[in-house]
């Protein structure tokens, strides 16, 4: 973690302004657009750039979840309940030939638990771009190709479990891939809705001021002083039981975003307040621009980067909310798969003590939340390229 201080403390960011750059570059900087300046500044923030790549990587998983999975995420098999993760052995002697050992399950006569033993004599080769279950890539192109797989993976005669299996014997790796898709899109849709509410209400508040401002500000203060999780739980529990996965998904998204727009509104209002008095806005008004034109052509572009940064910082809260609700069993319900749904299996400490791999879905939650936080910090610092 190189120079974590950069992300922590906006006040401590060393000067990157035009003055600190070599004179040769001066001319380039004078003619650069705001977006270019923002990008140059962002690039210097190494932790944020790396975090950005991590985030992009996660969204690639969202796109290619079914390609990266190698088993049907809902195919359960009691004979394979709670299998520990298998590791890939890359070399056979000196020859590169990735394989896993076959695993045999037997019932322990004392504890009556199923225990699994690897059988090193029986090697199952791991194939790349292997045949597996059928799916539609991006929902369009039907195919059976997967990144990895084993011969006989389609009918389950031979198996591989990179991260082990859950209580119902479903492959955790494949489920994790699908869970990533749901958890990360729910955050994205939720944040879009919060953004809409935040920009409209924050904009009203900051642009018109007066009564509208007072009312909206008080509403924000009220919302912020309410403990949100009990409310979410109440609203989520009231969703009809017969709803389809898709309906529940959207309802949960709406519930989460209804209470999460306040921070975005605060940022937008703050920007409007500072910009309202700027010379270029006053002149736009004086030359007779309509209100719409003043707002959307002159004001919004100048704080777009701030909005993007605030949005990035709002995403982790969304993801955690969904995970928490589903973890409690009030959010998405099986057969839907999300990180929270996967973590439900880790609720019981006795289960976790015997099968610690059930806690693995916590890892992507933590990584993604951290990445979004670092990225958002970097974007926020870069959002105002004319500053220090």
């Amino acid at each position: 973690m190189a120079g974590p201080d950069l992300t922590l403390d906006p006040a401590g960011v060393p000067a990157h302004g035009p003055a600190a750059v070599a004179p040769v570059e001066d001319r380039r900087i004078f003619v650069a657009s705001q977006w270019q300046l923002t990008w140059w500044r962002f690039r210097k923030h190494r932790v944020a750039v790396v975090s950005g790549m991590v985030v992009i990587g996660f969204y690639l998983v969202v796109l290619g979840a079914d390609f990266l999975a190698y088993a049907d995420p809902n195919a359960s098999e009691a004979q394979r309940s709670l299998m520990p993760p298998q590791s890939i052995h890359w070399f056979d002697g000196w020859r590169l030939s990735p394989h896993v050992y076959a695993v045999k399950g037997v019932r322990d006569q004392q504890s009556f638990r199923r225990v699994y033993r690897e059988d090193p004599s029986q090697k199952i080769p791991v194939r790349f771009f292997a045949q597996g279950f059928e799916y539609r890539w991006l929902g369009l192109i039907p195919t059976t190709r997967h990144l990895i797989g084993v011969d006989g993976g389609r009918d389950g005669t031979q198996t591989i479990f990179l991260l082990g299996t859950d209580v119902q014997g479903r492959d955790l790796w494949s489920r994790l891939m699908y869970g990533t898709r749901i958890s990360l899109t729910i955050g994205l849709i939720g944040v879009t809705m919060s953004l809409f509410l935040g920009v409209v209400l924050g904009g009203l508040s900051g642009f018109y001021g007066g009564l509208a401002d007072t009312v909206i500000q008080r509403i924000i203060e009220i919302l912020r002083s309410i403990p949100t999780i009990p409310l979410w739980m109440g609203l989520a529990a009231a969703l009809p039981r017969h709803w389809t996965i898709l309906q529940v998904y959207f309802a949960i998204t709406i519930i989460i975003s209804l209470l999460a727009w306040t921070e975005l509104a605060r940022v937008v209002r703050g920007r409007f307040l500072t910009l309202r008095e700027e010379d270029f806005v006053v002149s736009a008004r004086l030359v007779g621009c309509s209100q719409m034109r003043t707002i959307f052509v002159h004001m919004v572009p100048s704080f777009m980067s701030h909005i993007i940064a605030a949005t990035t910082l709002a995403l982790p809260a969304m993801i955690i909310s969904e995970t928490a609700l589903s973890f409690l069993g009030l959010g998405l319900r099986p057969p839907a798969i999300s990180w929270g749904v996967l973590l439900q299996q880790a609720q019981n400490v006795q289960t976790v003590a015997i099968s610690p791999w059930l806690m693995l879905p916590a890892v992507p939650v933590i990584i993604v939340v951290m990445a979004f936080n670092f990225l958002g910090d970097g974007l926020r610092d870069a959002a105002d390229p004319y500053g220090r």
Binding site: G12, I222, S225, T228, M233, G234, Q347, V349, Q350, V352
Partner: protein
């Protein structure tokens, strides 16, 4: 100063009103009215509700009349301390909740106190010894605290306690004192169990406060008056604690109001994982069983307690910060 407190109090009243509306919505959301489901529940368990009793309940809650009348009747009964019957437990809601509400607040407030006790010295240290090993360590722990949802943290801690020490780290009381009446021994037992939940709940808040304190103090430390104070020969401790820390404390204190709702929120889920006897597990059960009186009451009571806590911290803020005190006079 009075005007300021008056304004905060008015806002608190509005907040309580908003929460009561939301709690009422939660009670209303499931299909069918609650007297009907109450009768059905009683019938399912074999007892019969007489026609007369049912009618009385209907009149009491204004069922069949406009929704605002129903809301008014419910709030009125609520204000009188009549929270209705819990369907699942077949006992008054007040009895079901019992000590749990107070224990929830005890856990939340101790988490809040822990947040301040930890954040203040760590924040000061991080700023004064910027880029030192301790600063980096605090930063790192801070990031973990912010990134790991607290229920996961609870899970990991429980797991470690279980596998490494074979001890159950959850709960608020020892097993033998769980159902005992209140006594000094029980209170002491509670005190011994508090640090772990308080730490889990307070970690994210602490991380945030350390960040704020560190940034503020760094800003202040660069100002000329600090140099002046030092050149006058004041001891280093006095230079830092007497002036810049006091100034940096202000934005730090103003975020207190938002920390309590956050902690109360978090305590619901953490209680479930750690098996704390707070209202959290009760709320979840009530919601799953659609025991709406119980759920609505818990949501409203939690909200009211949080608002009161926030109001108290606002008033404390006035006491700390002379600028607010002088604003209106």
């Amino acid at each position: 100063m009075l005007a300021y407190i008056g304004r905060r109090a008015l806002l608190a009243v509005f907040t309580v009103w908003a929460i009561s509306v939301l709690a009422f919505v939660i009670i209303q959301l499931p299909p069918g009215d609650y007297v009907t489901s109450y009768i059905a529940q009683m019938a399912a368990s074999g007892s019969v509700v007489s026609e007369e009793e049912a009618d009385n309940l209907r009149i009491q809650y204004g069922l069949g009349r406009p929704i605002y009348v129903q809301y008014y009747k419910w709030v009125k009964l609520f204000a009188e301390g009549n929270f209705g019957m819990s369907m699942e437990w077949k006992r008054p809601v007040t009895e079901v909740i019992g000590d749990r509400l107070w224990l929830t607040m005890v856990v939340a407030v101790s988490a809040l106190l822990l947040t301040w006790v930890l954040a203040l010295p760590i924040g000061i240290y991080s700023a004064v010894r910027q880029y030192s090993l301790g600063d980096y360590a605090a930063t790192f722990v801070g990031f973990i605290g912010l990134a790991v949802p607290n229920f996961l943290l609870a899970l990991v801690l429980l797991y470690l306690g279980f596998t490494l020490f074979n001890a159950n780290t959850g709960g608020l009381f020892s097993v033998e004192l769980q159902d005992a009446p209140w006594s000094m021994a029980k209170a002491w037992d509670l005190l011994k169990h508090l640090p772990i939940p308080a730490l889990i709940l307070g970690l994210a808040g602490t991380a945030q406060q350390v960040r704020i304190m560190r940034a503020n103090l760094l800003d202040e430390l660069r100002k000329p008056y600090v140099v002046t104070a030092r050149s006058k020969g004041l001891t280093e401790g006095r230079v830092i604690l007497k002036y810049p820390v006091r100034l940096a404390l202000n934005p730090f204190a103003s975020t207190i109001g938002y920390t309590l709702p956050y902690i109360v929120s978090g305590s619901i889920i953490v209680s479930l994982v750690l098996g704390l006897p707070t209202v959290g597990p009760l709320l979840l059960r009530a919601l799953i069983a659609q025991d709406m009186f119980l759920a609505g009451t818990i949501v409203l009571l939690l909200g009211v307690m949080t608002v009161i806590g926030t109001l108290v911290s606002d008033i404390l803020l006035v006491w700390i910060d002379p600028r607010i005190r002088l604003e209106d006079s």
